[in-house]
């Protein structure tokens, strides 16, 4: 797991650290003052001074007590505000990066991952930023201030306090190391045990169909027990480090107390400094004890920080999008020259070259993993090719990621995204100012009017999450309606009908063929009947175009396409 260690550095963090340091120094003074006044008050009372004469000490104790906690709250408050500002900015940048970045890393992270990162990841980072700076600075400043003060009164106690720290650190490192090793050793097994329950529930339907679900209850209990035993074995060691921390610090307090006691008997020290020191010793250790707590919050925060940074850094590097005017006309020419796309592991597209003029239907075919989707992503401008160039009407534009290109295209995946809004607003998504009449007109054109008539609110019925769920065929029709209404000249589709049942597919196809008239259609599919309707086919294999031409031309070539065709069980007649 990659994580970002050390004090976090974001814009404004230096100022934050300076302000916090000053406040913490002041707090240290308040802690010492509080201890001193308390010790004085107690000493005076011990000497049987009438309580009315101790009033000043008690008042000053209370004032320093209040100041101390006010300063503590102020620190937290400042750190929280800083965390809030930073993470709010990061959250917005993340979303921006997702829209504007041309880097594969951001695109390939997956939409789900991005949502989690921008919500939970940012929250983790926020929690981390709220605590980390204060915690680290306090550990550096408070004990130091206290031990210096104690030293001026009693060097022996100061030495006991100082010596304890390296002992504690050494033990914690040793034990932490042992625990980590132990955890690593059984990590795999541990994972299996801890995921077994979720795995069982997710597979419950399957278990039920296999007639094994009732018998499986026993195995749930057994594995849960093994999980508990394994966890406890690890915890016994893991808790040892906090044990050591507490053991040595409280032993240290005891030593200081005993050594003070003995010297009080000797008369080498008087009650007031002794009591002051005794009150200060726990304060000395308390920041150190806090360092180890919230281990998970720290870890999660660091992991999130790393990931967010990586995403946003990519964004910073991005070039200005090309701002050439792009208007696709029936006589425009699209030209791909030697397009290469690579991921960390493999070459996804190699040397893709292809030219097309005006409207028409271009099929992109090939087996799973041949590079169809990657090519679609290049054409929609989702990812930038690593090499090669893209020309539109002769102008070189290296990438299609530009607002102008987006204006020209409509992209239709297997499941077009339906916004949680009314049917009409979904349809006029590309042209929000379209009137209800226009929406109704396209609804008719895509044969959705019968469906709309059944809706209680007609075209204003809410669809998408929280509203009426659409079937796969209806989703595709809404996408078609969007295209019709916006009059976009280019449609890019990725396997839009493969998941539909044949009757729906048949109906949707009729609608699509009407919509496709006079447009440039780039269409990735497995489905044979589409291929026959295409004006031109690009056959991909291992990221390269191995054949191109019309369906008939390719069949007669008896090459990859023909073979693919036969494997699919077609053309036996």
């Amino acid at each position: 797991m990659k994580r970002k260690k050390g004090l976090p550095s974001y814009p404004g963090s230096r100022l934050l650290h300076v302000v916090l340091s000053i406040l913490i120094v002041l707090e240290s003074i308040a802690i010492i003052a509080q201890a001193t006044f308390l010790a004085r008050a107690i000493t005076l009372l011990f000497e049987r001074t009438p309580i009315s004469n101790v009033f000043t000490e008690i008042t000053f104790f209370f004032i320093s007590f209040v100041i101390r906690y006010s300063l503590q709250h102020l620190q937290t408050y400042i750190a929280e505000n800083y965390a809030e500002k930073t993470t709010s900015r990061l959250r917005n940048s993340l979303v921006k990066a997702y829209f504007l970045s041309r880097n594969r890393f951001v695109q390939s992270a997956g939409t789900g991952r991005l949502v989690t990162l921008a919500m939970e990841g940012i929250d983790d980072l926020k929690k981390y930023l709220e605590i980390i700076s204060i915690r680290m600075l306090r550990t550096g400043i408070v004990p130091l201030a206290i031990v210096i003060y104690v030293y001026t009164h009693d060097s022996i106690s100061a030495i006991i306090m100082i010596v304890t720290v390296p002992i504690v650190i050494i033990f914690m490192i040793l034990l932490g190391y042992a625990a980590e090793k132990m955890a690593d050793k059984q990590y795999d097994r541990y994972q299996v045990l801890s995921n077994h329950f979720i795995d069982s529930l997710k597979g419950l339907e399957t278990l039920k169909y296999l007639g094994r679900s009732a018998a499986h209850a026993k195995s749930i209990r057994r594995v849960s027990k093994q999980y508990r035993q394994a966890t406890m074995r690890t915890l016994r060691v893991a808790f040892l480090s906090s044990f050591a921390l507490q053991f040595f610090t409280s032993l240290s307090i005891a030593f200081v107390a005993v050594s003070l006691g003995l010297r009080l008997i000797d008369g080498t020290i008087s009650l007031l400094p002794a009591l002051t020191i005794l009150i200060l010793v726990p304060e000395y250790f308390s920041p150190i004890q806090e360092v180890g707590s919230d281990y998970h919050a720290t870890l999660d925060g660091q992991v999130a920080a790393k990931e967010i940074d990586a995403m946003i850094k990519q964004e910073a590097k991005r070039q200005k999008p090309t701002s050439h005017e792009v208007t696709w006309t029936p006589s425009s020419i699209l030209q791909l020259k030697g397009i290469d796309v690579e991921s960390e592991k493999a070459t996804l597209l190699k040397d893709i070259s292809f030219t097309w003029k005006g409207s028409g239907m271009i099929g992109i075919v090939g087996e799973s993993g041949a590079g169809k989707s990657t090519l679609i992503h290049v054409l929609t401008g989702l990812i930038d090719p690593k090499g090669g160039s893209i020309h539109i009407d002769g102008k070189n534009r290296k990438t299609l990621k530009s607002e102008q290109w987006f204006q020209n295209i409509a992209y239709i995946p297997q499941h077009p995204y339906i916004f949680p809004a009314s049917l009409a607003d979904n349809i006029r998504f590309y042209v929000p100012d379209a009137s209800d009449e226009e929406v109704k007109r396209v609804i008719k054109e895509i044969d959705l009017d019968v469906f709309v008539q059944q809706l209680p609110n007609g075209i204003h019925e809410k669809i998408g999450e929280g509203g009426r769920t659409l079937s796969g065929g209806q989703e595709q029709r809404v996408a078609m309606a969007r295209v019709l209404l916006s009059k976009k000249p280019i449609i890019i589709l990725d396997e839009p009908t493969a998941h539909l049942d044949i009757e729906t597919e048949y109906e949707v196809k009729q609608v699509m063929m009407r919509v496709f008239q006079q447009k440039l259609v780039l269409f990735a599919t497995h489905r044979l009947h589409w291929m026959k309707s295409m004006d031109h086919l690009l056959v991909l294999d291992n990221g390269r175009i191995v054949e191109q031409g019309t369906h008939q031309e390719l069949l007669s070539k008896k090459g990859t396409y023909d073979e693919m065709h036969k494997k699919g069980g077609y053309g036996n007649e």
Partner: protein, 574 residues
């Protein structure tokens, strides 16, 4: 929340008491460490002639310091062990509650991954015990003991202390719980809105870009984010106010303690040497009580989890099945399946999903069922597998009424996304029949045509599925699931679109495998297009719960225009 919290507290009373005992001993040792230290120093400052006078304090200071660490360590172990035991029971209980209704859950709750959510909820409840319940009980125990001890000296002061500490332990947490509960609900709403916007932005990204409205969506998101943050800030400020109040009260309590100790010394009831002791100890007592407010404030974050689990629990099992006739339980070689005027209606729906459906399937027949989404194909499969019972009509397998008991004996099911468990390939196949021999295992792997692939793996059948998750293609995963079904060796196999999402070549190969491995068996195959229709004995089209077209491929192709058109499209010959 009673069903999922209280019984466990009751059941584990002993261990809870033990954990509280160690917790009290730990905190008590810490308090006593300061108490005795204070006493030791005060006593020593009187410069006693004999060091033996402070010998006991010296020894006990060390004992308490060690005790504090040891007790805390033991307490942590005991409470974690306890929580894991509770988890063990909750898991088993949840499984037992969910298991009988497993196949109905999906249709009841729309949520795809409800079960995963429930599992997380149970996990989440661990923290409820560790971070809220136990600390609260422990705080209460410390409070009670401290007040009783004070009462031994002066019951009036004990009552005063009880009230002041009560503010820390009860009043402030309860008020803040009352206030934050509302805040929490509002905060959740805000978060949900932001989440919604983010999902819209991210999943509908191409549409935003195509509409040229990216800057709008980014701006909207930022504005909503600002609203959320503004709200979070309000909650935070309230928390500062609360904790500030608590600290203020602590200061007052310490002073009260000082004044009281002085007063008692003046009376001669206690010796001046314990003034320091009492005052110092007060700090560690209040330190132990302060976290309770935070612990209680977390309560609203658990209510969702508890409610969700509760909801499942309360759902009565709608499908009360009649007991099957026991006599018929013998291994079937062949089976005929008869559906006679079957109707079925889901309880929350007005119209029947399956209506007056009759079908006779002789042993060994291969049938394809097609239809648009929502026409009742999946319901029909559920009826045929005995998972649900028809409202009217009957389903007869070899002369006996169908019952879910026949699953894995007469009928097996290969569903759309069979779950492959996080264990080895071999164990995954064996789940259907745990006592199967290795030969049987390899035979079905052979029949499912996955054996040669398994042989190439270094660990063979013992290869963990998880590692392979990436390497196995969709087709290969289906083959493993198919081997599992074959191992059950039932005469009827129901298939619910097992090839959806696969490319045509893979689909064709799978189909060939299915048909050749199950030559003798009845196959009822729900599918969405016509690949393989020719190899079927019957093709059935459904609409609104009834059959609209039926016959074998050749008949239909000859006589039915609609079918002809569909088939031509499917084959690309239109």
């Amino acid at each position: 929340m009673n069903d999922w919290i209280k019984p466990y507290l009751k059941q584990h009373k002993g261990q809870i008491l033990l954990s509280i005992l160690f917790g009290v001993l730990g905190i008590g040792s810490g308090a006593m460490l300061l108490f005795v230290s204070g006493y030791l120093i005060s006593k020593s400052s009187l410069r006693p002639e004999n060091i033996m006078i402070v010998y006991i304090p010296i020894v006990s200071v060390r004992a308490f310091s060690i005790g504090q660490a040891v007790f805390n360590y033991v307490e942590k172990l005991v409470s974690h062990d306890l929580v894991l035991r509770i988890l063990e029971n909750m898991r088993t209980k949840l499984y037992e509650v969910v298991e009988p209704q497993a196949l109905l859950l999906r249709s009841r709750y729309q949520t795809g991954d409800l079960l995963g959510v429930l599992a997380d909820d149970i996990e989440h409840l661990q923290d409820f015990y560790l971070r809220t319940i136990f600390p609260s009980i422990l705080g209460m125990a410390i409070y009670t003991i401290f007040i009783i001890v004070l009462g031994l000296f002066d019951w009036i002061f004990a009552i005063m202390m009880a009230l002041m500490l009560g503010v820390i332990l009860f009043l402030v947490p309860i008020i803040s719980l009352f206030i934050t509960r509302r805040d929490y609900v509002a905060l959740k709403k805000r978060r949900h809105t932001l989440y919604r916007q983010l999902t819209d932005a991210v999943f509908g990204r191409m549409d935003w870009q195509a509409s040229g409205r990216t800057s709008e969506v980014i701006k909207n998101f930022a504005a909503e984010n600002e609203r959320l943050i503004h709200f979070e800030r309000k909650i935070r400020q309230r928390k500062h106010l609360r904790n500030g109040t608590l600290h203020f009260i602590v200061g007052v309590i310490v002073i009260a303690m000082m004044v009281w100790a002085d007063f008692k010394t003046g009376q001669g009831t206690i010796s001046p040497t314990v003034i320091a002791a009492f005052v110092l100890m007060t700090f560690s007592i209040t330190d132990a009580l302060l976290p309770v407010a935070d612990a209680v404030e977390e309560v609203p974050s658990y209510t969702d989890s508890i409610e969700r689990i509760q909801q499942i629990d309360e759902q009565p099992i709608t499908q009360k099945q009649k007991k099957p006739v026991q006599a018929e339980r013998h291994p079937y070689k062949q089976a005929t399946l008869k559906l006679h005027q079957v109707s079925y209606r889901y309880r929350d729906r007005h119209d029947k999903t399956i209506e007056n459906f009759s079908l006779h399937i002789p042993a060994g027949e291969k049938i394809a069922i097609l239809g648009k989404s929502g026409t009742g194909k999946s319901t029909l499969l559920k009826l045929m597998s005995g998972v649900i019972e028809p409202d009217e009509g009957e389903i007869i397998v070899n002369g006996t009424t169908m019952h879910s008991q026949y699953l894995s004996e007469a009928v097996s099911v290969l569903n759309q996304k069979p779950h492959l468990f996080n264990t080895t390939i071999g164990k995954n196949i064996r789940i259907g029949k745990p006592k199967a021999t290795d030969e049987e295992l390899w035979r079905v792997a052979e029949q499912a045509q996955i054996a040669s692939l398994i042989r190439t793996l270094p660990q063979g059948m013992d290869t963990p599925m998880e590692e392979m998750g990436q390497r196995f293609s969709g087709g290969e995963r289906q083959r493993i699931a198919f081997a599992r079904v074959l191992l059950q060796n039932t005469p009827i196999i129901l298939m619910d679109e097992p090839t959806i999402g696969l490319d045509p070549a893979t689909e064709q190969q799978l189909l060939t495998t299915f048909l050749s491995a199950a030559k003798e068996k009845t196959i009822i195959w729900v599918t969405h297009h016509l690949a393989g229709a020719k190899a079927m004995d019957q093709v059935i089209f459904m609409e609104n719960g009834t059959i609209t077209m039926q016959g074998n491929h050749d008949e239909l192709y000859q006589s039915n225009k609609h079918y002809q058109r569909l088939y031509q499209m499917d084959q690309g010959t239109d």
